[in-house]
């Protein structure tokens, strides 16, 4: 099943199960979704429940949050999360804080979803990962699926959840196919929010990743295995709440940690995970934590520069080698020279 179909079926099933669920966003209806995630849903549920909006993020996001105040369950699509910047006030100030400010009177059962982070060749304004922007805000839950199982289970969980959920998809994963079990295909399937998944068990090093980078981490783990290094790959699934227990338990076992994300390194998801491990498991670390992240620059357009700006599989497998496992690399001037010499 493709991630696209996983998302589409999750929306379909939740709309079918709960008449309060409706979709709103740019091109979600007649166009069938800019990335076809909402394909067929207008035909099935009609224009009262699948609403094409004008290009006015602040307007329709505010309307969505207001509808959620009244008890409806909107699913708001951003064509990409880059455009959510036009509406971030409603996500932060109108959605995330209302339940607290009203001492529990004003719950906001809403989902903000759409592709987030780097796509391919779309330049700086269409490639930003906003995971940490939203994950830094109490009151929000922030989910980032990797596989079709994640996409189905987490989107259903997000729609059923009584709190505002930011749901970060990845355009480059939409067309990818993952095997799914019968359980995952069942309409009752749902994943817990706030729990990471250990995609691959290992004993020498922990690699954390979310969204597309989980796939890269798994490939890196395969490469490492050839060198006799056993990597444990954690698919975070939930950026907020962050599953600190699973991460720390893994690090206590492997004693080494590499964090991977496509977003910028400063104040990133990796930075928070690193802090958590320093706080909870400092004595277990045999080497400094390594962060693999997007380059600290706006996304360039040219293919060669873009490749340098986002983590590659070899960045993960290589970088991990300097985490004290292969000490000889640690002081290799080639590493400092360019980072691609290996």
């Amino acid at each position: 099943m493709t991630v696209r179909d996983a998302l589409n079926t999750a929306l379909d099933e939740e709309m079918s199960a709960d008449p309060k669920v409706f979709l709103m966003g740019e091109e979600v209806g007649e166009y069938q979704g800019a990335y076809k995630i909402t394909k067929g849903l207008l035909d099935k549920y009609g224009p009262e429940r699948v609403l094409d909006t004008p290009i006015t993020e602040a307007g329709f996001t505010g309307i969505g949050v207001g509808a959620a105040y009244h008890g409806l369950k909107p699913v708001i699509e951003f064509m990409t999360f880059n455009f959510s910047m036009q509406a971030i006030d409603h996500i932060i100030n109108s959605a995330a804080k209302s339940n607290y400010m009203s001492a529990g009177q004003m719950s906001v059962p809403i989902v903000f979803r759409g592709p987030n982070g780097a796509a391919s060749g779309v330049g700086a304004q269409h490639s930003h990962c906003y995971a940490v922007w939203y994950a830094s805000c109490p009151g929000l839950k922030v989910l980032a699926p990797y596989s079709s199982e994640d996409a189905r289970g987490l989107l259903k969980a997000a729609i059923r959840d009584p709190d505002p959920v930011v749901f970060l998809e990845n355009e480059l994963l939409y067309g990818e196919t993952f095997p799914v079990s019968a359980e995952v295909l069942d309409s009752s399937f749902c994943l817990p929010i706030g729990k990471a998944k250990i995609e691959k068990e290992g004993k020498d090093v922990t690699i954390t990743a979310f969204s597309k980078m989980v796939g890269y981490a798994l490939k890196a783990a395969e490469i490492l295995a050839k060198d006799g290094i056993s990597a444990e790959v954690i698919n975070l699934r939930s950026i907020r709440p962050l599953d600190r227990n699973t991460i720390n338990a893994s690090v206590r076992k492997t004693n080494r940690l590499v964090t991977v994300e496509e977003g910028f390194p400063q104040h990133g998801v990796g930075a928070e995970i690193c802090a958590s491990v320093v706080e909870e498991s400092f004595g277990y670390l045999d080497a400094p934590v390594e962060r693999i992240a997007g380059a600290d620059v706006p996304m360039p357009y040219a293919a060669n520069l873009e490749r340098l700006a986002v983590p590659q599989v070899e960045d993960i497998s290589r970088n991990h080698l300097i985490s004290g496992i292969s000490e000889m690399y640690m002081w290799d001037p080639c590493y400092y020279w360019g980072g691609t010499a290996h």
Partner: protein, 356 residues
């Protein structure tokens, strides 16, 4: 009763200037507005006595809008406003005790002391806050209207905003969508003529706010006349249910400054303020009507004011007895469903909690 001035219209025929009322309603308008006035004056004193913290925006002068609007609608209809929200909350059935407790950050507050002056809510009576970001409440109000239409419940949403917020871009975004989708929303521009200290003409190329919906009809209403407000809101509700959004510009005035740090006298003259008080005061208008129709004597009205004063004083005394929130409340209501996740205080070695 005739409204004070004719309605000015934009793309619609005006409602009648003759408004129906009865002695009961007149006396209740008087009592409720006197309560609101007294409550705001008392809040001013409490603020100066440092019992109220942070921001505090007072509504005295604008009472006719809250009262007239309530008289035209039911609690099934929704109201959302900005941070000048004390009287709107009272109008929806909130109590003085809840107001003063909230203002002083006590458990007995309508938001258990976690919202403060700008964040009053009474969802069970259709009051959705209490919003601190200027203009953001307008799309939210359109969303409430969306829910009314979606639920087919024949109710409407009133989204209140000031002349300052009237220039926010998101207002026009939400209005466009509301008009496209025929959402039963009434945009109520409470034009008190100053966005903080900026006079309307310094902020708006066209301060005719009732016309600024372009394709959306609008009415300009004397917002100091509770009956004009009532008539306009009744008209607007019928319009909204049948044909979608409409704008009501309420020509009103705030006697206080924008907030407690603003004496309200640097950008307008004292003569202007006292002129409005003498000629257009919403409570005095009702007093005159009551006396002209022999519905009560001057003494009886004075007695009502005394009673109101006593109620306010009692509510303040009781609110002062309400305890501060328990420290554990710091970690409640972050989520409806906290999933048992750990949250931290300033020093996580010292303070951490499992979210309920």
């Amino acid at each position: 009763i005739e409204t004070s001035v004719p309605f000015a219209t934009h793309r619609c025929d005006p409602p009648s200037r003759t408004v129906e009322t009865n002695p009961q309603e007149l006396l209740s308008f008087f009592r409720v507005m006197a309560t609101m006035r007294r409550m705001e004056i008392a809040a001013d004193s409490l603020y100066k006595a440092k019992l109220i913290r942070g921001f505090c925006h007072l509504y005295d002068g604008q009472e006719a809008v809250a009262v007239g609007m309530e008289a035209a609608i039911t609690k099934k209809d929704s109201i959302i406003t900005a941070y000048r929200d004390h009287c709107t909350f009272l109008g929806r059935g909130g109590t003085l005790l809840e107001v003063f407790s909230e203002l002083m950050g006590r458990q007995g507050g309508c938001s258990k002391g976690k919202g403060g002056s700008m964040h009053f809510y009474k969802k069970d009576s259709g009051f959705y806050g209490g919003h601190g970001i200027v203009g953001a409440q307008v799309p939210l109000g359109c969303g409430l209207a969306f829910a009314h239409k979606y639920n087919k419940d024949d109710a409407v949403a009133f989204a209140l905003y000031g002349d300052g917020a009237a220039n926010q871009g998101q207002l026009f975004e939400a209005l466009n969508i509301s008009a496209l989708w025929d959402l039963p929303v009434i945009l109520v521009c409470e034009n008190n003529h100053y966005g903080m200290g900026t006079a309307e003409w310094r902020a708006a190329k066209s301060p005719a706010y009732y016309k600024r919906g372009d394709y959306v009809p609008g009415l300009k209403v004397d917002g100091m006349d509770a009956f004009a407000v009532k008539q306009a809101c009744k008209f607007a509700k019928e319009h909204a249910l049948k044909s979608g959004p409409i704008i009501l510009e309420m020509d009103t005035y705030r006697y206080h400054g924008h907030s407690m740090s603003d004496p309200g006298s640097t950008y307008r003259t004292r003569d202007e303020i006292s002129g409005v008080r003498q000629e257009r005061d919403p409570i005095e208008r009702i007093r005159k009507l009551i006396l002209a129709h022999d519905l009560a004597t001057e003494k009886e009205l004075k007695d009502i004011e005394k009673e109101v004063r006593k109620q306010v004083d009692e509510a303040i005394a009781e609110a002062k007895e309400s305890p501060m929130p328990e420290p554990s409340e710091l970690f409640t209501n972050v989520y409806v469903k906290g999933l048992g996740v750990e949250a931290y205080g300033a020093d996580r070695k010292e303070v951490r909690a499992v979210l309920p």
